[in-house]
């Protein structure tokens, strides 16, 4: 399966299209020989993974691209067996420790220890360390992050870490201070447009600039999504027309319909129907916070100034509850109920003002 996202992913630092000065820095870093631990962060779809792979390629050459999937088994101190999947090459290993849930500390300690203790046999690359790439670092538990920090210190000589996350707020300062932070900002709309044009040219397609701009706006700084949208547009209708519909994933349409249902009627019965739809979204693995943010976006379009602040405040309140609580449905439903109450009050006041 080759989506455009994968097909046209740049493989070397030189081929990166935006944030070029950052690419230059990374190159210098690699050449300097004193490669530190990296903490790559930035919004989703900005190109963090791409840059990590490019850096690895710069470090080790093209051997890094021969990937294989491995199953690693660990035993926790309480004798529970864990299995985690990693993607690795001869020079690096990439793993997502949050896959195992609350036992991520064990994974980190054991895995890095294993990697670090095996010395590099192939000396032709002139690098005496291996790289461990950890993704979703901001979802690591506190214990795991402390373990990580110690491990980073201990095995500095044989192993370098590249940590990837969306935001550094949840990464403990100790780790932040031990790594070099690389902030990958989202590309601007112009840059996205440029990217789209380049890709379409390579595909041999003609992309009207209006459509490109619309796609870029809709993607909200997420390059991956922009490329996917573009590809979907092509499937829908080619040759492109400037005003064609930019197709959206099904779940987004579903979410939007749900929001319009909420705005339409505010009653307990409607809430129950909405609940059914929320359950459906949840069972399709759409994360709860994505649902909440999506709902918020749609609902805000139906409110005006004063109302918006109130709605946003309650959204922030319940979304925070969502993260700390266990059952997401309670909180999403409470948010919907709150919105209904606010909106109903607003409508009633509006009608009262008329008379």
């Amino acid at each position: 399966m080759s989506l455009w996202v994968d097909k046209y992913r740049p493989t070397t630092l030189a081929k990166l299209d935006y944030h070029k000065d950052q690419a230059a820095h990374l190159k210098k870093l690699v050449q300097g020989g004193d490669f530190p631990h990296l903490l790559v962060y930035g919004p989703s779809g900005a190109g963090k993974k791409t840059r990590v792979m490019c850096t690895l390629r710069e470090l080790y050459g093209s051997g890094v691209e021969k990937l294989r999937i491995e199953h690693n088994n660990f035993t926790t101190p309480s004798n529970k067996k864990l299995e985690i999947v990693s993607i690795s090459s001869n020079y690096h290993i990439e793993v997502n420790p949050s896959d195992v849930g609350i036992q991520d500390r064990v994974v980190i300690q054991e895995l890095i220890k294993n990697v670090a203790q095996v010395n590099q046999l192939d000396s032709s690359t002139q690098k005496d360390f291996k790289v461990v790439v950890l993704t979703e670092v901001d979802r690591l538990s506190r214990d795991a992050q402390h373990a990580l920090r110690r491990t980073m210190e201990k095995y500095m000589s044989t192993c370098r870490l590249i940590l990837v996350c969306n935001s550094t707020s949840k990464v403990i300062p100790a780790i932040r201070s031990r790594c070099l932070g690389v902030r990958v900002a989202a590309p601007s709309a112009d840059e996205i447009v440029q990217m789209l044009q380049t890709v379409c040219k390579k595909e041999g397609l003609n992309l009207p600039s209006e459509l490109a701009r619309r796609i870029a706006d809709k993607s909200q700084g997420n390059l991956r999504r922009a490329l996917l949208m573009c590809e979907a547009c092509k499937v829908q209708q080619y040759p492109f027309s400037a005003d064609q519909d930019v197709s959206e994933p099904d779940w987004e349409v579903f979410l939007r319909d749900t929001a319009s249902m909420i705005v339409q009627e505010q009653s307990p019965r409607r809430l129950l129907e909405v609940r059914g739809r929320l359950y459906e979204l949840l069972s399709h693995c759409i994360p709860a916070d994505v649902i909440m943010k999506g709902l918020l976006q749609e609902l805000l379009q139906n409110c005006d100034g004063e109302l918006k602040t109130e709605v946003v405040q309650s959204a922030a309140h319940f979304e925070h509850r969502l993260q700390s609580g266990q059952k997401a449905i309670y909180h999403i439903e409470a948010f919907v109920a709150r919105f209904m109450a606010i909106y109903k009050r607003f409508l009633e006041e509006g009608i009262a003002d008329l008379f």
């Binding site: 210098k28 500095m156 935001s167 550094t168 707020s169 201070s177 932070g181 405040q313 922030a316 309140h317």
Partner: protein, 364 residues
């Protein structure tokens, strides 16, 4: 090895002859290959005297080195002020290199430190006897040292299990706990220890030190960059040295470290972005605020960083009344907690800035 300066205004001491081979190099194929040791490790103070900036601790430890007894120690204070370095230096001085492994047990936050470990490892170690003479006949302290680093992340049951051992084995074992917040250590333990507060390092000390390191490592740095560095690190020596090292890497051998690079590395939000946000807050338009906050988020800056910088800015603002400031600060505290819990940054920042907007425009 270099050392900390002895105090503000003191001249840097003469360079001590580096032991051969130089640390950071190793022989390989006949050519010295530079092994890259982090500068934090390289320039860590090696003797107690080098940690001169923390007066009381040094005095006690010096006395100990001269032969008097060591109490149980509790070092606390902000990170990067030399706590771990101090006790390690003292231990090394007390025991010398050969006895060190037998007499010192180090447990860190990344090691297992649950109750079972406290019960077994710590207890066993503390029950070993310690003689008063070294193998070569020289006197050495008749006790062992257990260093518990980051003690505030030990669970309270583990700490409670610890205190009994502390009491019982006081003849043969001394404990040294290191933590950031002394409130996280349970009372019975704090009452058994001598508490020492490590102060954040002063500006002068730090800048001298940084300049020194730059000299050693052949890094060109601008004066302004040093100031920025110190402002950002807030008295944390480790942070400053780490940033310096990272910055020097980014510049390579030829470039010079300037303020901008420092800011890039540390993830500090540029001032103009914050100013823009404030301007939009005054404008009382939700849509504009939304767009601006989205822009900030898209840049990838950490929410907590934005928050702390904004806080500094707000406190200094004249046109905002105290009452408004208090409401905003309360909201900021709540948002900070929520961010720490993992809430979505966009929503929390929107909630905060809409409160700011409301206060600035509607409240008196």
């Amino acid at each position: 090895m270099q050392a900390f300066l002895k105090g503000p205004g003191g001249a840097p001491p003469a360079k001590k002859p580096a032991p051969a081979p130089a640390p950071g190099t190793s022989k390989k194929d006949g050519k010295p290959v530079k092994k890259h040791i982090p500068w934090v490790e390289k320039y860590r103070p090696r003797t107690v005297d080098d940690v001169a900036h923390q007066d009381e601790v040094v005095a006690v430890l010096r006395k100990t080195l001269e032969g008097s007894d060591l109490p149980n120690l509790l070092f606390y204070g902000p990170p990067g002020t030399g706590k771990t370095s101090t006790i390690l230096a003292a231990a090394r001085a007390l025991y010398g290199h050969d006895l060190y492994k037998d007499r010192v047990l180090e447990l860190n936050a990344s090691d297992e430190r649950g109750i079972s470990v406290v019960r077994e490892k710590v207890k066993k170690f503390s029950q070993l006897t310690a003689s008063a003479t070294r193998p070569d006949g020289k006197p050495c302290p008749p006790y062992k040292i257990i260093i518990l680093d980051e003690a505030d992340s030990m669970t309270s049951p583990a700490q409670a299990a610890l205190r009994r051992t502390m009491e019982k084995e006081t003849k043969t074992t001394r404990f040294c706990l290191i933590c950031n917040y002394v409130t996280r250590i349970i009372e019975p333990i704090t009452s058994r220890c001598a508490k020492f507060r490590f102060k954040p390092l002063g500006v002068g000390v730090m800048s001298e030190r940084l300049k020194h390191i730059c000299q050693e490592e052949n890094v060109k740095i601008e004066e302004e960059a040093i100031q920025t560095l110190m402002q950002i690190s807030e008295g944390d020596m480790r942070k400053a040295v780490m940033f310096l090292q990272s910055a020097s890497r980014l510049c390579g051998q030829d470039g010079s470290v300037n303020s901008q690079i420092i800011r890039d590395i540390t993830g500090v939000v540029p001032e103009d972005l914050l100013d823009e946000v404030l301007k939009v807050c005054r404008s009382d338009s939700y849509e504009k605020l939304d767009a601006t906050v989205k822009k900030v988020i898209r840049e990838g800056y950490a929410g907590s960083q934005i928050l702390s910088q904004f806080h500094d800015k707000l406190v200094a603002m004249e046109e905002v009344s105290d009452k408004q400031k208090s409401v905003i600060c309360e909201k900021m505290a709540l948002v900070d907690k929520c961010l720490l819990d993992g809430a979505d940054e966009y929503l929390q920042l929107m909630a905060l800035f809409s409160t700011v907007m409301h206060q600035m425009c509607h409240a008196e």
